[in-house]
Structure formats: structure tokens, C-alpha cells
Symmetry: C2
Subunit: 595 residues, 2 copies
């Protein structure tokens, strides 16, 4: 290690001041009197006082009742908790930049997240991740980053970038990068694929953590997956699965996202004796859910409501995650720790009235009371990322195959899963066409990173679309442009509108845009406030219903139709993917060998 | 971080093999069947099987009952535990090299120690610490190192070396260095002394831990001490002190040394909910105690005997300490972890029958069954470290002062403390002389590092010495030569004998050596086996009793008479030190201002 690699978390002067304040030689910056402290270190509740020295907590204890301080706030017995830490979140799922995300969760007592910029990584590679790191400097929210490990997710799609070992290593060196993100290719890990194992080992070699993702994996497979050194999992859905993973040494992240909700099933595992091995995470939360339910605070609130002792629930939402990621001076209220604090008015409902970030009051009464700093960041790496090929009706043409039936995708409502159905297509003039009377719409996936310009075309059922088209540049995991429509011309208009907007969501009817949400950063994010985004999404949903859509959350459903790693049938720019065998398949149902 | 700084713990091939073995594609190296696993992760006890792949644990679980393996050992339901980790030990206190220490503790189920080479550091500085690091390579015991933080302990003594910030930083970069050792100068830390604070911060900047030592410190002082970022303490002696430190965020190390024994007082703190914040440590153990009671296994045994659940006791002796020091793949029995394992025949008595270190059987039935590798190390930095000035009777002369009384040291039996007593000296021909009839012996401290050649001379009472002299080159913390005698010529013979031996302990009567223990490495250590050292110490004790000594453990008592940081009166090469005000004082009792 060279001296220039030494990482500063605090300065010597900050430490000197904290010691002087604790010892009573200097006045503190803030005294929080009469706090009922949720002590996550001992799982006790202490009636005490907390004295700050700038960014740090100087001292905690009865001796500070009348300590000298620039400012004194009498909490009158209100609870005080460490700021919460979300152990695994894709900020992109909330469709906003880190600054807008911070504005949404910080007033709720969340002061840190460990994010996995998997979506930005797929679109914009290392420069995109670096952009996110820069964009999340100087926020009232610590944004720790894990490097996406699976970009692209499969070779059957064209992503915007590839993250190999060299790219991952480059990002791992960053001060705020704490690990390699969820290694989702669990079959490859279990099969001993060297590149996946090398990615896990790389994190370890940098003194950081390799994170896991092993849904339903158990027995020998689970042991093999964890033998790689991967240290966590956030995919457990049942008590037995969670228990097995805990016993096998995984740091168990209990997830409550917008779609995947595992808290109720796993909450019985949260016990004093295992609480250092359990953290709370949100993974993916839609803008409206962040607004209405919150971020990781939602899990703490629900856990307390379910009877978990508050200090224990908060422990899983702060301390345990901080320790898992080896975050120093974070996750507890103790001398020398960063003063990331939440004043909890009503602990039964985990209602937070004030939030301090590194000693500064940043939110009160549910609202941020500091400005999110204007980003001084070059946005080039994530702007202008929608580059479509020339689109004519010809590109969306589906020649009628000789076979009598074709493969058709059906999304499962409220889930990420899809099903493959076989249908006899409606054929007009030798072409398979959308047929609203049979709920058959066209689905296209247009490569939008400016690489191949390929267009995949297929059929989808279940939307109920009667007119027009919907389109999205959010298209997991490659984030190509996905559009569903019953009119090829409306599909074309929708695609070109999104190119004009540099990405987003759009609903089109007879050549007219009914509603749209521009997502100009990587075609994934906006810096508009979460509430505004949530309201716009409601207008987009209304427009979709106007077009006949009956499928709930149609844009989210659309965005998952290209996800070629979760069963059953998907469409990428390269064509239809049957995820079960993991290969490209033909549109014609009879052909079982596509390659 | 540069690629060359990336630290390898395991190789990719080892990981690949572990995954393949866990998944059943390759045969394991060893199957431990029918184990009753003390699962420190969940504090459960699991009936299970453990399959190894070389140095690593590949898989744990019922699926491995009949797994293919090169070797199968049926444990028949015996308990299996992770190898224990001693969180803070001065190996030097056992008077042996790391190899000989390993031979003593490994058969008891101890597979790692975090040592603080404070004594070697005082004698031989950075080269001495590097020697210890080299000497502890390839042992069946992991020797992690914390860099001594207080060398020298005070400016009122002449140590062999000085460890400043630059020296500490240099050592911190080593792969096996995990922190900065106990920052004992707690008054300086609390007072905001920048050098001490900078030492703590340096550990943090290297991603390592700054360790604490704060006996009896509480209230604001404790908060100030911990506000520095120091993260642990092993000096608690009462339940209230331990509880306060836990709540304040210190990792609480419960110590049971040879002299300082705190386990009984602190054991009520060991509870499931705090067990991740508590580790077991031995600090200082004499060779005989290691032979008879063991190392950190003694604490686990005692805790279980006192009613602590075995999995919980073992947790504090392994997992919690591994986490505190951020040791990866250590401290638990789980896939991907190093196979450091103890087979426990009789869990009520924590009787260990077999020990595996990184997958290899290294001890059985209380005996090492592998050779400690012959050190391929240049011993120069720690050899030939006793360089005495020319010693004549003149150097030991104590001129009778004008004052009627003088300061005299009295050791407190079985403790590190000393008392100052005032005596009217026996004067012969203008010189203060030893007077066995009044239990007044001469005490000398001879600078032995070849720096100043200074000799401090004083009086000591409490030994009961009637004839001859005892001498030691173990002399905390500076490790100058300390001798107690009633005959100046015997003192001189004892000193010169130790110079000839390159250090050790010696008892001399009328010019003849009665017993001796050579400690040729830094004048502190031998590579003879612990049992042999223990037997030799018994002969030295017998020789001391022959000379009239009534004080128990007289060589240990002698070695602490120079410890100028613990009250009350001490003798260094620079003279008498009154530790309470922290300054050099005169022999004559009236003079209250020495400088």
C-alpha cells in the first residue's frame, strides 16, 4: 500500500476536536438533550444525552446533560436512532438521480444506501458508474456503491457496455465502492465458472465484499455458491430458505421491494442472537412506493409493528449492514461515530421528525431542509444514450412462419416472471399482425446503444391493448428500447419520441403522444422530484388504460419483457430467448433448435 | 490502490476446487462425518457433516453424509468448533518464540492469535517486529499482529528503539498486520495529544483497527478516549466498567491472563445479543499457565463451566474477534471458510482431541502432530541485544543522602502494582547498603541496548533476599537489565552472565550461577518448548527461595519494577520514577522536585 492510497474518513483535526469536546475542553456543536437512545450496540434503550463535535459524535451519556454547545435541542424523551442504511438498492428502479432519491428518503431517517448501479452500468459502463459516484458526492445521503458483476447479463442481448474483470477492478479502488454487486449468475458460480469466481475473489482481494443473489438455492448448491466466498444473499422468500442461508454463513438481507416482498416471511429470523447477521434492504422500489412507504425505513417500521423490539429492528437497519460492509464510524450512536441521527417522534410507527447527517440538520417534519447541491458533474457519459437505427414499418414485420403456431410472451401480473404461450397467429397478407380482438400485440426490442441496430420482434398477450403503443427505454437488463403496440406506425412514433427525449416512457395513440416521462440520464433516470415522477407515472398509467390496457403496472411489466435471465420467454434485440434452456429460439413454435 | 497491493488470501484455484467439491463434481480432501457443530453464526448446534477441499471448508450439511473424499473421519457425534482466536496476546509473556507458543496452544484448539509484539518492539524496533512476522510464517497458528503504539512507553526510560508514525505506517502495510496495538497512553489520548490521535487514525486510514487500553476510564474520559476512533478495550475489571464500555461502542475484550483475571467479573455480559461485541483474550500468560491452563481456550472452558452456552462461548472466542479485526473466511465453520477446526470430545470441559489447521490435522490428543517448520529467518535483528556498560562496584554505589529517609520500592505480590515506602537506610562508610536483616535489597537497572550505558540504582523491599542476586533482561517496558541483590559483586556477576547468555533470568550466589534461563532472542524469548521453560522457571524459583526469597513469582515481580507507567514507584536506567505525577524523583525522600 502506498501513502497516496491511504483513505481519509475523518481528519486529525476533526478527531482532535471530538476528543476535546467529549472531555469538556471545548464546546460542542450541538447537544441533543434528553434522548431515549435506541442503542444498537447492546440492544438497550438508554435515557441519555448526545453531544456532537461537527461531523462526529463526541460523547453520549448522563454527564453531558449540561455540556457546553453552540446549539442545544431538548428532545424531551423522544427516541434517537442512528441513520438507517439500506444494504442493497438499485436507485435506478426509482427512476431518479441520487440527489432526487436522497430528497425522498433522507427525511424518513435513511442516511446511507449501498447501491448497485446495475442499470447504469449496462447502459454506460464504467463511465456511467463513475458518473453516479460523482453525482452522489456531497449529498445528505451516503451513497456507497457495489460494482455490477453481470454486465451484460447474457450473451443473447446487446448491452451498452461490458464490465470485465479489468473494469471491475478499476472501479473497486474507489473510496466509496464497498464490494462487487450481487453475483446473479448463480448457476455459473455453482458450475465453477472461472470468470464469475474471479469477480468474487477480486472483491476480497481489494478488502471489499462479494455480494450474492441465489434465489431458491439450497443444499449442496448453496454450499457451492457460498464456498466461492460470496458473503450475502437478499433473495430468500421463505423462512426455511432464510434459516438455511444464515446457518451457512450468508449475511441475510431481508428484502421488501415494490414487487418482491419478503419481510413477513423472514421476520421470525430477526432475533437478538442473529441480528448481527441480518440486514434490511429494498432492492427495487418504484417512485410511488418510495413516496408513500419509504425506503429501508419501511422495513424497520413494519418490523416494529410486527413486534420486533425497536432497538433490534433498527440494528438490522443500520449497525449490522455497516459491519457487513466494514463501514467505519457508521451505524451506531457512539463516541467517534459520524453523527448520522434520526429523531423518532413515535417509535411504534417509526415516525421520524428530524434527521441529522454528519452533524447537520438536513430534514425536519418530513421535508429536506438543506438544498441538494447543484451537481458539478459532466453528464456526458449518461446523456444522449438512445441511438436508434432507421425505423421503418419493415423493421417491425413478422413474416408468417410455415408452422401453425408461434411463441407468444405473457407477463405474470405483479411479478417479474413471464410465461410462454403457443398461439395460432392472425396472418394478413403473409404477415403476422397484432390482433386486439385476441389480445395479441406486437412486442419489439430495438437495440438503442448505437451498436448493432438490431430489432427483435415478437408477440405478447395480457396487456389488453386495443390501440396505439407503449414504449420504454428501461428494459432490463440491457435497457434496449421495448415497445408494445397494435399499430406498427404508433410503435415507430413511440420509439422516435423516446429517441428525442433521450429515453423514458411514452404512450402513443394514432401518432400522438398521450403521456410521457423523459428519463434523459442513461434513458433510465430523471432529476425531477420523486413525487413528480410518481404523478407522471399515474398519467402514463391512465393513458395506457385509455388505450385499453388492463395489465397492472404496464410500463414496469414492459421493462421486464427483455429480461433474459428469469423464466420463461423474453425478447431481446437478438430475438426470442427461452430462459429455461438459456438460448435463442425461433418465433415458430415447432422449431426447437434455433441455433 | 495498485494491483501489486492486492492481497491474496486464497487462490482462484482453491476457490474453484472448493466450489467443485461442494457441488459434488470433485472429491473432497477430508469428510468429517457426524459432527455436532457449534454454529457460531446462529448460536445453534447442528448435527451435520463437514466436507473440506484442501485449506477450505467446501460444504456443511446433511447432504454430505456420503460425499466422496480422500479421507473420511467419523466424529461419532463429537462436537466440532472453529479454531479459537485470541484477540490480544503478548507472546513474549510466555517467553517463547511464536513456533514454541504455537506448539503449546494449537493442540488446545487455538488456531490464531492477534499478538502485540510490544516487548520485541521496545528492544528491536521495526526489524524486531518484522522478525516476529517472519518467524510466524508457516505455523499451524495464524499470528496476526498489531503494531505497538507506545514505544518507548515514557521518555523517562531508554528503550532499544522508537516507533514513531513513520515506523508504524511502514509496518501497517503488512498483510498480517491488522491494527495499531493497545494505545495505553490514555491520559494523552483524552488530553488530545496529536501524536497519539494520529497513531489511532493511521490504523483507520489503512483499513485496520486502532486498539484500546483504558483501565478504569469512565464517564467523559471514556467518551473522549473512544471519540478518537479507538475501537476496543481489554482492561475492564468490573461488570459496570464492562457494561459502560460496551454501551459506548468499544469491542469488549474479556481478559484472563496469568496475573490480571477478569473473566468471572465480566462473564454476565456475555449474552446472545451482545456476543458480537465481546471477544476473549489472554493478554499475558506465563509459560506454566499456558502449559497447565492453556491460552484463550481457558476462557472458553471457564465460560462453559460457568453456564454460558457452548456455541455462545466459542462465538466470543472466534467469530466475534475475527469480525472485529475484519479477518475474512475466519472464525466460523461454513462454506468458503478456512478449515481451522477443533474436535471437542467433551464440550462441558472443552476438551479438544483433534485440531485441523487449514484442512490439515496438526494436533491430536493434546500433542502437535506436525513439525514446526525450521525457521528460514535471519535472526540478526533480535540476537546479541544485551550490551552492558563496563560494570564495576562503583556503578552500583548509592551515596548516602543528607536526608534521613529514602524512597524504596515494594512490589505488591501477584500484581503489577508497586508501592513507595519511605525507609531510613542502612549506611556504611557513607554508602547506602543492602541490609538483609531489614529486607532491604539493592535494585539496579542497567541500560542494555548499547545506547547510554546508564545505571539506575535504588532500594527494594519485599523480596526477602538474604544472599546473592537475581537478574532479568525482561524489564517492562524498556527491557533494560534489572537486578535485585544484597551483594554488589553478585549483582555484577548476574549482569555479566546475562550479557553472556544474550539475556534471560539468572540467580547467583557468591559468584556462582545457581540457575538460569537463557532468552537469546531480544533478551526476551527462547525457542525451547514451553514445558521446558516452565520447568526451568521452577528451578529458578527454587534457587531464589534458597537465597531467602519469600516473594512469590520473584522474576516476574522483578521484571515489572521498571514499568514506569503503572503506579507507584519504579526504577529505570534514568533513575527512580514516581508514576503518579509521572516524573523522575530523587532517592532522598525529602526532595520532592527532582528536575
Amino acid at each position: 500500500m502506498k501513502p497516496e492510497d491511504v483513505k481519509a474518513t475523518v481528519t486529525l483535526d476533526e478527531v482532535r476536536r471530538a476528543v476535546a469536546v467529549a472531555a469538556g475542553r471545548e464546546a460542542g456543536s450541538l447537544l441533543l438533550k434528553n434522548a431515549t437512545l435506541l442503542n444498537v450496540l447492546t440492544q438497550d434503550i438508554d435515557d441519555t444525552h448526545v453531544l456532537l463535535a461537527g461531523r462526529l459524535i463526541a460523547g453520549v451519556g448522563p454527564d453531558y446533560a449540561d455540556a457546553a454547545a453552540d446549539e442545544v435541542v431538548d428532545l424531551g424523551g423522544k427516541h434517537l436512532a442512528p441513520g438507517l442504511i439500506d444494504g442493497h438498492v438499485h436507485i435506478e428502479s426509482s427512476l431518479v438521480t441520487p440527489g432526487a432519491y436522497a430528497a425522498g428518503v433522507v427525511p424518513r431517517g435513511v442516511t446511507a444506501v449501498v447501491c448497485d448501479p446495475h442499470e447504469i452500468g449496462n447502459v454506460a459502463g464504467v463511465p456511467g458508474i463513475e458518473w453516479l459516484l460523482e453525482r452522489s458526492e456531497r449529498l445528505p445521503l451516503d451513497v456507497w456503491v457495489t460494482v455490477p458483476s453481470c454486465v451484460p447479463s447474457t450473451p443473447m442481448e446487446t448491452a451498452g457496455a461490458t464490465l470485465g474483470l479489468a473494469e471491475i477492478a478499476g472501479v473497486l479502488a474507489h473510496r466509496r465502492v464497498v464490494g462487487v454487486a450481487e453475483i446473479m449468475s448463480f448457476p455459473a458460480v455453482i458450475a465453477g465458472d472461472e470468470e464469475n469466481l474471479a469477480k468474487a475473489l477480486l472483491a476480497e482481494q481489494y478488502g471489499k465484499t462479494p455480494e450474492g443473489h441465489a434465489p431458491g438455492v439450497s443444499g449442496r448448491d448453496l454450499q457451492a455458491y457460498l464456498a466461492s466466498g460470496i458473503g450475502s444473499d437478499h433473495e430468500s422468500t421463505t423462512l426455511a430458505e432464510g434459516q438455511e442461508k444464515l446457518r451457512a454463513g450468508a449475511f441475510l438481507m431481508i428484502r421488501e421491494g415494490s414487487v418482491t416482498r419478503n419481510l413477513d416471511a423472514l421476520l421470525p429470523l430477526v432475533k437478538p442472537e442473529t441480528s448481527d447477521r441480518i440486514g434490511f434492504v429494498t432492492d427495487d422500489r418504484l417512485p410511488g412506493d418510495v413516496c408513500d412507504e419509504g425506503g429501508v425505513d419501511f422495513l424497520v417500521r413494519r418490523a416494529i409493528a410486527s413486534g420486533v423490539a425497536p432497538a433490534l429492528a433498527v440494528r438490522c437497519g443500520s449497525w449490522s449492514t455497516a459491519r457487513h460492509y466494514r463501514l467505519v464510524r457508521r451505524g451506531a450512536v457512539a463516541p467517534g461515530y459520524f453523527a448520522d441521527l434520526a429523531v423518532v417522534d413515535d417509535v411504534a410507527n417509526y415516525h421520524v421528525s428530524r434527521v441529522y447527517k454528519e452533524g447537520r440538520l438536513v430534514a425536519a417534519d418530513g421535508k429536506l431542509c438543506v438544498d441538494i447541491p447543484e451537481p458539478q458533474v459532466d453528464d456526458t457519459p449518461v446523456r444522449n444514450t438512445v441511438h436508434l437505427p432507421e425505423l421503418s414499418a419493415e423493421r417491425f414485420r413478422l413474416a408468417a412462419p410455415a408452422a401453425p403456431t408461434v411463441r407468444c410472451i405473457r407477463p405474470v401480473p405483479y411479478q417479474v416472471l413471464t410465461e410462454e404461450v403457443r398461439v395460432t397467429p392472425t396472418v394478413v397478407g403473409g404477415e403476422v399482425v397484432a390482433d386486439p380482438t385476441r389480445d395479441l400485440a406486437k412486442l419489439v426490442c430495438v437495440e438503442r446503444h448505437g451498436h448493432s441496430g438490431d430489432v427483435g420482434v415478437g408477440l405478447v398477450t395480457g396487456f389488453g391493448l386495443q390501440r396505439g403503443a407503449l414504449a420504454s427505454t428501461v428494459g432490463h437488463d440491457h435497457h434496449n428500447l421495448l415497445a408494445v403496440g397494435v399499430d406498427d406506425e404508433d410503435i415507430r412514433v413511440a420509439c422516435e419520441r423516446l429517441e428525442h427525449l433521450e429515453g423514458g416512457f411514452v404512450a402513443v395513440d394514432r401518432g400522438e403522444v398521450l403521456a410521457e416521462l423523459p428519463l434523459p440520464f442513461a434513458g433510465l433516470l430523471t432529476d425531477r422530484p420523486l413525487k413528480e415522477v410518481s404523478d407522471t407515472l399515474e398519467r402514463l398509467d391512465a393513458a395506457a388504460r385509455e388505450l385499453g390496457v388492463t395489465l397492472p403496472a404496464p410500463y414496469m411489466a414492459l421493462s421486464f419483457l427483455g429480461l433474459a435471465v428469469i423464466p420463461e420467454l423474453r425478447l431481446t434485440d437478438q430475438g426470442l430467448v427461452d430462459v429455461r434452456p438459456g438460448r435463442l429460439v425461433s418465433f415458430a413454435a415447432e422449431d426447437v433448435s434455433a441455433s
